[in-house]
Every structure is written in C-alpha cells, then in structure tokens.
Symmetry: C2
Subunit: 636 residues, 2 copies
C-alpha cells in the first residue's frame, strides 16, 4: 500500500487517506492498484472493439498481428479511438450546454417560472455579438438567443455554427476557412474543420469510426478537430454564456476551499457534478427560513452547502459557496463522516461513491435520468419544479443529521482562502475595460505570456502535484496562469489564488498582480468554462489583429482523466494553442498519429500536443513555446 | 490453414478461397486466425477505455478486480459498451439517411440538377403519411418532406420524431408512451424511449457513457433502445423512403447473383458500400454511348457494372444490376483478377481491399470524405457534379482494361437467378393492394408466421451457412422469410429467391408462393431497408388493430458483424420482435445485462434477444416464439 503522501500533494487529502487506510475504507487508489498492470494494448491505443469480428489487437513490438481482422492498422485503431474520445467528450460538454439553452427558451416563453434571467446585461451583450438586436423586451431577446443556440445544436446545413462565427477571432476564422480550401486542393477530399452543427459532428465521428469507414489517420483527426471545435466554440461556449445569463456572470469574490469548509455543527450538503441548474437551486432553498429552522430543530447550527468538482466551481464563482475539493476529494469528503447528503447531477461521479456513502449515514442522492447509480437514492430533478425538488433534497439531508455517527467523524481543519471569479467580463473590468493593459504588459515584457491549465485529477498522478507545481513553475517564469476545473480548485486549495501568492511569482507577474489587485492564478470557471479562455484569447487576438496562433500562450492538462479533456485539448490545439498533456493519451501505438498530434497539426492549425512527465520540464517547454512566439512577434 | 469449405458455404467463394490460398493472397480468414486467441475481456464486454484512469478490466471468474478504477462494475462496463455500439450503428444508418434528405431538399429547391424525383407517387404517399398535403407542385411537396426529415435529425424539443409518429402502428406508439409513464412511476426517473431527435439520441449515449455518468444497466439500455428507435423509425426509414423518392421504389425483377456476374470480355466495375447516390449515377453513365464506345475501343465488349454488399442491393433492386456477392465476397471479387475498378462509398469496406487490389491491376477508388483508405485512389464525390464524377470514375476503369493480366484471371462461372425487389409497395401489389391475404394466410394457418433475417457476414461463422440454413429451416417449418442486406445476397446466391425454391419450403409457404408468384425468401433491400420490415409489421398490426408484439413474427441476425447490426437488432426488439443473434454479443460478462436483454426487455417492450449457435436450433426457437404468439392470438 502506497503512503498517503505519495498519493496526494494536498495535506487535507493525506490526512483523510491515512484515516481511510487505517479504517479499511476502499479508495480509488486501491482500485487502481488492483487494476495494475493495466492492459498494454489499451494503453497504447492498439485495441479495437468496433465490430464483432474482433476484439482485435495490434502487436506493437513483436511478430504478432499488425492488422485487425478487417485489415485496419495501428494508425487506424489509434486515430479512431482518439476520435471517439473526442466525440464522447464533446457530447458531454455540449449536452450540458443544451440544457441551459432549452431552459432559457422556456424562461423566455414563460413556460418555466422557477428560473429567471439574472444577468440582463450579459444577455444583451450575447445577443449583440450574435447579430441579434439587443434592444427591447428581455424575453424577446432571450428567446432569440436561445433559438440561435438550439439551432447550432441541430441545424442541418453546412454553414459554420453561429456561435463560432460570432465569437472566434477574425484571423482564426479565416485560418480555418483557408485550411479547408487548402486540404481540398491538396488531397481532393473534403476536410472541413468548421463544425456544421454540434450534434452532427459527434454523429459524424461515430459513423466514420464504424467498421469499414475512415481509415486515414489525418482524415479521422481532422474530423476530431471539427467535433472538438463544435464543443469549444459551440456547446461549451453556449453552456457558459447562457449559464451566465440565467445565473449571473461571475465577478471576483473571496471563497474558501478544501475539506475544512465542512462544518461539524451544521447539516453538510455536498453538491457534486457539473451543472449549476440544480445546485443553484439547492444553494437558494438552503437559505430559506423554514429549512434553516428545521435544521436548528434537529440540533444543527444551520445548513452548510459545499461544492465539489465543477458543480462546485459553478456555485463557487457565482454564489461564493465554499468548495470542498476537486475530483479526487469526492471519496475523501465522504470519509469525513460529516456529510448528511451528497447530491449529484452529471459527469465525473465515481460509481464507488454510493457504496462508500453506505459506510456512513450519508445519503447519496442522484438527480439526473442520464446518470443513475446503483445504491443511490434517486430524486428526479425537473426544471419546472426546481425549487420543490431542491427543497425535498435539502429536507432529506436535514432529517439525516440525527443519524450522523460522531464516532465516525474525522476531518482535517484545512481550508484556504481564494479570490475567484475571473470571467472575461470580470477580467476586462479589472483591466479597466479593455485587454490593452494585459497586451501592453506582454508587449513590454512585464510578463512573458499567459498559460491556461485545465482539468482533472487522475489517481495515476499524485493528486494536485502536477497541477500546483506546474502553476508555480510558470509563475516563477513570469507567465500568468489562468484556468478552470479541477486545476482551479487545486490552485485555490494550494493558496495560489490569494493575491498574496503573487509573492511566489516572478517580478513581472508580481507587479501585474499588485497593479490590478488580482492573484497570480486566475479561476475562470468550471470545465465548460474553458470557453472563457477561448473568448479571452479571441479578444486579445482581435485587439492585435492577429491570430490566436501568434499569441505567446500555451495550455496544459497535467492530470487529465476524461474524454472531455481530450476534446478540450483538441479545441485549444485547433484554435492555435500548443497543449501539454500528462498522462500520455492512448496514441503511442501509432507513430504516425503521434507525429500528427505532436508535429503535423502545428502546420495545419498552429497548435500541437506534447507530453511531459515532470512539472518543471513541462513549464520549460511551455515557456519555450511562449518565447518562440514572442520572438516571432518581434517582442524581446 | 482451414479448408476453404470450412470457411464458406458458397461454392463460388470456396473456389476463390482455394485460389487465394494457392497463390498466397492474404484474406480476412488469415487475419482472423492471426488474431486468435482474441481477448477474452473484450469478448465478454469486460474492458473499459472511457477514461485514462484505465484501461480497466473486470475478472469474470477469478479473484481479480471486480470494479474499474472509478468503481464501475461489470454490469456498467457491458451496458455502456453495448450502448456505444448502438450509438455508432444508429449514427451510421442515420448519417446515411441524412444524405438523401439533404439531396431531396436541394433537388426541390433546384440547387441540384444532377438528380430528379423519380417516384412522384411515393413522394406524395410519404407526404400524406407525414400529414403534409400531397397535392400541388412536386417540388413543394418534396421540400416539405425533406424539411420534416431534416427536422427529425436536428430538432431540439422533446416531441417524438415525426417520421416515427407517422409510421409506427397505433398500438406500438401507445405502448412506448405508456412505458415511459410506467417507468417514471416505478423508478421516479425519466426513462423515455421515444426518440426526440435522431442526432440527439446518439449524443445522449456518448455523454451518458462517459466516466462518472450512467451506471445503471437498465437506464443505459433504455437509452440504447431510444437511440435504436431513432435509427429504425427515423434515420433508416428516412433513408429508405427518400431513396425511393429519388431513385424509384423497388418492384420485382429478375437478377443474377454471385461472382459469375463478372464478365471476362467486359470492363468490370464493382461498386461497394451502402449509399445509392453515387452508384445510381455510375450505373447511369456506364450506359452512355461515349463511354461504351471507349470501352469497345479498348477491346472490351462493354461496361459491366456489378454491385457488392448494400450499395449492390440498392442498385440490384432498383436497376437490376447484378450483384457479385455479399460482404465476405469483397476480397474474393478482387482475387478474380477481372475488376478494372472497385468503387466504394461508405461502410463495411475492409481497409485490406486497396492493398489486395494492388496485387492486381484493379483501381481501388474511394469517393467519400468520410471514408478514406490508405492506398486508394481518391476521387471525391460531389452531388452537384454527380454525373461528371461518375464519368471520371468509369473512364478510369475503362482505361484500366488494358492493364488486366490474363495470367491472373481466375473466377468461378457461378451465378444464380433471383426474383428480388419486394418493397412494401411491391408486396402489397402482389397481395392485391392490402395485407389481408397475408394476414388471412397466417390466420388460417397456411403459414405459421413470418421471419426476418438480416445482415452481415462474419468470418467467425462459415460464410452464408447460417444465413442460408436458417432460412431453409424456417421455410420447411412453413414460416415465410423476408430480409435484407448480406442475408438477401446469400439467399439469392443460394437460389432461395427463385420462385421455384418454394418447392423446398413446407406446403403452406409453397402454396402461398405459388398463389402470389413470389419466391419463399423475399429480398426487401439493403440494411437501411430493414425499415421496410418495420413498415410491413406496422401495416399488419394496424390492419389487425393489434401491436407488433402480438404478431407471429421473429427476427435473426445470424452472421452479424457491425455495430449497425446491434442497432437494428435493438430497434426490432424495441418494436416488439424477438431477435436471434449469432455470434453472441459482447455482453456475457454481465449476467444482469444478459438477463435484461434476454428476459426483462420482453416485459418492457414485448421483444427480447436470444443466442443460438446452430441454425436448426435457432429456427426451432423462432418457431416456438411464433407458435406462442399464434396461441395468444387464438390461432391454431
């Protein structure tokens, strides 16, 4: 059994893992160990189950088979699997975006009165951007915005997504258009990378990767690019923009992060997952007099809603709700014995959680018909009865307070402060209304550039170590760090989101942060909010009349886990941002695909992937990319 | 090395396999042998690569891990993988259907003049069925039909597909609606099985099967059902109906089937794949004076276009173009040395083909940007320049005639006659305008019922043996057989589609066939045309005011291979038809999922899956199903 310190870089986690090990509670690291050694074919991408002539495996080294039964090679197997990962990831984000889009339409039509439009200013700004008249009745503008969003999901023509056309910077849009013409001229085949509709690109991949379809790795990957772009500049962007409209655009606020946000004296409700539609409502009703009174009658001080993972990020940024942790904290929070309920919506919810909850008094409550869990209490969430459902859930948690076993309570009193909420709007406000001060700071060499870090914990990587160390390494090199998802929570837990943390950074970042009153690591949102980084990149590119691929920026997903992360990485690369990954994606079984991803995509898209196992090395490589781009721009 | 007779039941294939073995040509059976033993985890469905915490494997027997890293069990792994197979299969069929729908719109708007509406009567009939006024200008009616189809692909509301509502029989529609209410009442979760839009259900599955989402096998499978229904009563149905509108509804015609349709004296062009949009045009231009003249100048007698697989079925039924074989003939046809060109569109095209073509003078020509092949000549097909592209392809083939090496020519002079083209319209015509004579024949016990056999060859099964033997066994039992895809070609090759073949059948089928002048095995089309069987089932059910699940019918996919087949099987089961499968699908690693598929789905949907390895046993089981339903209907 590995030592807790080897498993996590987070001291609260180490405390809790030690406790679990002592008390014999199974955690994710135990299951990973039980799975080892993991299948080498799968790890390299050399396995195919796309038809029942298989399963087929390609022997990468020995004299075993080099082709599947149909004749598919390693290149095809690897590219097809990667494409399906992108399709699944894009589907997840985009399906998420569909929900607020439908809700906005219902609110606009008066079909749903549980929600309102909280940010009219954002609504009108989004409308204007989409070429919709921002004047007039809120409900009319909202309906028009919702209709454009829904049309982007389902339209059947070949025109690019309207959201993409409205939000992507000019030069990048031209780059994609020219790429299509270039590829058609070169290969005689259509290789459009501009997405036609969000759903269609997922379907295209699923079709294309069935037996006897596309076998050309470049052709496959370019469809992967198109699908990923429909996520980044489509589904995810729609999610972010419409959630802001419905729930408010995030602005800077102080919050607390880590397991210490649990309160021994209160009814603790952990909301986990990704969508704010339910969690916003839980936060709201948990403040209602009647429920608070009920909690007091049960002997609690009150009701303490805390977030986890990206649902956590959503309500952290908009409501200042404390966040108990990122993905690998989802089991640990249960082992505290303090949770009256864990309420989940969708994505990244380990099915091990309801079983672990049963070792405690904790009610594990699932709410989405798209995400059911054996062993869970299921309370179906209906948007039109949002408040009632949320009240029923909170009531269940409150009633469960009496069942808490003090003998089983064990938690670390560890939590950090953080200044979060750096939406593009908030950043622009901090910058005085324009990206110019940021651009000037880069141009004058105050900072070298900007890095984005995103997503996931992965038990194969010491929790938060790479996320936090990479961030520190970049800051030391005078590279400002922005990011989302599990990285953002890791950085908050590590104290990097306090303005004082600027002291750890290089002199330039320090100066910039002090001038603007911002921390050196900026929390831009949940994983769908990676779209905020795209929008920021777009604003800077348009300000400079250049392409994103000219900007001194780089990205990283250093502890990535999900198929969503593959889609995110791909849309950043496809938008002109070099992206670091760790662990290595399952592509190494194909030198051709590996070369495409790490080299050839650069000439096509101005972005590429690279893999590094060490934070310092990854930071150095990211710095190199940024310096090379500075040089190309003529900056010292 | 296995003997050719063990590999195929088709004597032409045996002849050709022997030749390939003698001359050292690699065939699919060699690659299957090289892959053996295939991965047991994959075969049982116990492998997961949906995130990079994996790959994970569940040990079904020993004391290895019973959970993936996230905690997912065998049940989740198996159900998720099956769902993704359905999603991929539905995506393939539906993406196919999208193409003629878009083309119909373009033709209606005058944006495409390469195609016309060949079957106005069908257009008006489809319009009427959809509740569109069938009167007036053809182009107006066509536009309205196309718009409804395209809306079914992309609409974002929760109303069921309009095609499904218009075509599904009344009682079945009610059954699905009630099921939704029942499940909601029972489980408190939404479990709709009525598809909202074709693309959306694929996306839903891809989202739902990402890490940390749906872990409940029943919930997963019901979404699989919903997606499959969007294929059968949506994408596939749209493909069939609109292809009939554009290219003509099939009516009975005599054709020839098997490798002997190649002509030593002619330029042979093999069209392979699934869509008729290109192949119809190739058939058309290959008859043009100029090209025929050019062929004669090259020393050939003329141009001989032959079909393969489902593109073959499309032009077989509509144009009487001979079919060279089903899926496992795709390599064999190349080994004849007689093919000047193999022209492919999409689906089921082994990537081994271009490599094999290079052992001969054959040009392997790919035409779809969704299906590229290393080693192929790519000539991109554009609908708006359809005739020009088709001419360029035919010209290339004709010019290649001079390169044919007589030393390499080796082919069997084997081909069978067949009477094919039993669209629902054609069947109704044969029946005198109504399903009544068929219903009467069943009611009076002249025949016991009807079986549908579909799809695929699979090198794990002796080619055509199960397809043909099962058909014979059913006919002997006085069960009429209808079907599509590779089965239909197998039955044609085996002579079962000659009216005289009725002599092999039981007395009832014999009598019925003689009365109606039809063969005992009825060719209803390509694999998307499985929708024709649904429409026929619907017509009979509505005629009797009963549900499909009441009818004495059963289905089988006895040599299935593709993910499409999983979708087909699922939509038949979901429509109330018990379906036999061989080989076993990758579900046996989960007893719970296996039980759901083989037992529990029956009470929910009136259909279920079963697995049998022997044709006679499968026929017996299908007969049992049919007899049990007869009994329930009070028929002797």
């Amino acid at each position: 059994m590995k030592k807790p310190q080897e498993l996590s870089f987070d001291q609260a986690a180490v405390f809790q893992i030690s406790h679990a090990q002592r008390t014999g509670l199974e955690l994710i690291w135990d299951r990973l160990e039980a799975q080892e050694p993991q299948c080498g074919f799968g790890t390299l991408g050399l396995c195919c189950r796309h038809c029942v002539m298989g399963p087929c495996r390609i022997d990468p080294l020995g004299d075993g088979p080099k082709k599947g039964v149909c004749g598919a090679t390693a290149d095809t197997l690897v590219a097809r699997h990667l494409c399906r990962m992108i399709a699944a990831g894009a589907a997840a984000h985009s399906d998420h975006g569909r929900r607020p889009a439908i809700l906005l339409k219902e609110v606009a039509l008066g079909e749903n009165s549980a929600y309102t439009i909280k940010d009219e200013e954002k609504l009108r700004a989004v409308a204007a951007r989409l070429g919709i008249s921002p004047e007039g009745e809120v409900s009319q503008v909202a309906l028009a915005v919702a209709e454009v969003a829904l049309s982007d999901f389902g339209k059947q023509d070949t025109r690019p997504l309207r959201f993409l056309e409205a939000y992507a910077p000019k030069k990048r849009l031209e780059h994609w258009q020219k790429l299509e013409e270039k590829l058609l001229a070169q290969t005689g085949a259509l290789f459009g990378v501009l997405p036609r509709s969000i759903d269609r690109e997922v379907v295209d991949i699923m079709h294309r990767t069935t037996m006897g379809m596309d076998h050309d790795p470049a052709s496959l990957l370019l469809q992967g690019v198109r699908c990923a772009l429909s996520d980044g500049w489509g589904g995810s962007l729609i999610a972010t923009e419409i959630q802001d409209i419905l729930f408010g655009t995030p602005y800077p606020r102080k919050v607390r992060a880590n397991l210490g946000v649990l309160k021994e004296e209160a009814v603790n409700i952990v909301v986990h997952g990704h969508e704010p539609v339910l969690s916003e409502m839980i936060v709201q009703v948990a403040q209602e007099e009647e429920l608070v009174k009920m909690a007091r009658e049960m002997g609690a001080e009150g009701i303490n809603v805390v977030g986890l993972c990206c649902t956590g990020n959503e309500i952290l940024l908009r409501q200042g709700v404390p966040v108990a942790g990122n993905e690998l904290h989802s089991e640990l929070v249960l082992t505290t014995g303090l949770c009256e309920a864990m309420v989940v919506d969708v994505q990244c919810i380990y099915p091990a959680l309801p079983r672990l909850a049963q070792c405690f008094h904790t009610k594990f409550i699932s709410t989405s018909d798209q995400a059911k869990f054996p062993g869970a209490v299921h309370i179906q969430f209906f948007e039109e009865k949002a408040a009632e459902v949320a009240r029923a859930i909170v009531r269940l948690a409150v009633e469960n307070f009496k069942n808490r076993d003090p003998q089983k309570v064990h938690y670390p009193r560890i939590a950090e402060e953080a200044l979060v909420g750096f939406s593009v709007e908030a950043l622009l406000k901090a910058l005085g209304g324009s990206v110019k001060p940021l651009v000037d700071a880069i141009a004058q060499g105050v900072i070298k550039g900007v890095a984005g870090i995103v997503g996931c914990n992965n038990p194969k990587v010491r929790q938060d170590y790479f996320l936090v160390s990479l961030c520190r390494e970049l800051l030391k090199r005078d590279i400002l760090v922005v990011g989302t998802g599990c990285w953002a929570i890791a950085a908050a837990k590590a104290g990097l989101m306090k303005p004082e943390a600027a002291a750890e950074a290089g002199p330039g970042v320090k100066q910039l942060c002090e001038t603007l009153g911002i921390p050196p690591a900026l929390h831009m949102g949940s994983c769908v909010d990676c779209s905020r980084m795209l929008v920021l990149l777009g604003a800077v590119a348009d300000h400079l009349s250049c392409d994103i691929s000219d900007l001194p920026v780089a990205g990283s997903a250093p502890e990535w886990t999900t198929e969503k992360a593959v889609s995110i990485g791909t849309y950043f690369v496809a938008s002109g941002v070099p992206v670091h990954l760790w662990p290595a994606p399952p592509v190494l079984g194909s030198p051709a695909v590996t070369k495409l991803l790490t080299q050839e995509l650069d000439s096509l898209l101005g972005g590429f992937f690279f893999v590094e196992e060490e934070p310092a090395k990854a930071a150095r490589k990211m710095e190199e990319v940024i310096l090379a781009r500075r040089k190309k721009l003529g900056l010292g």
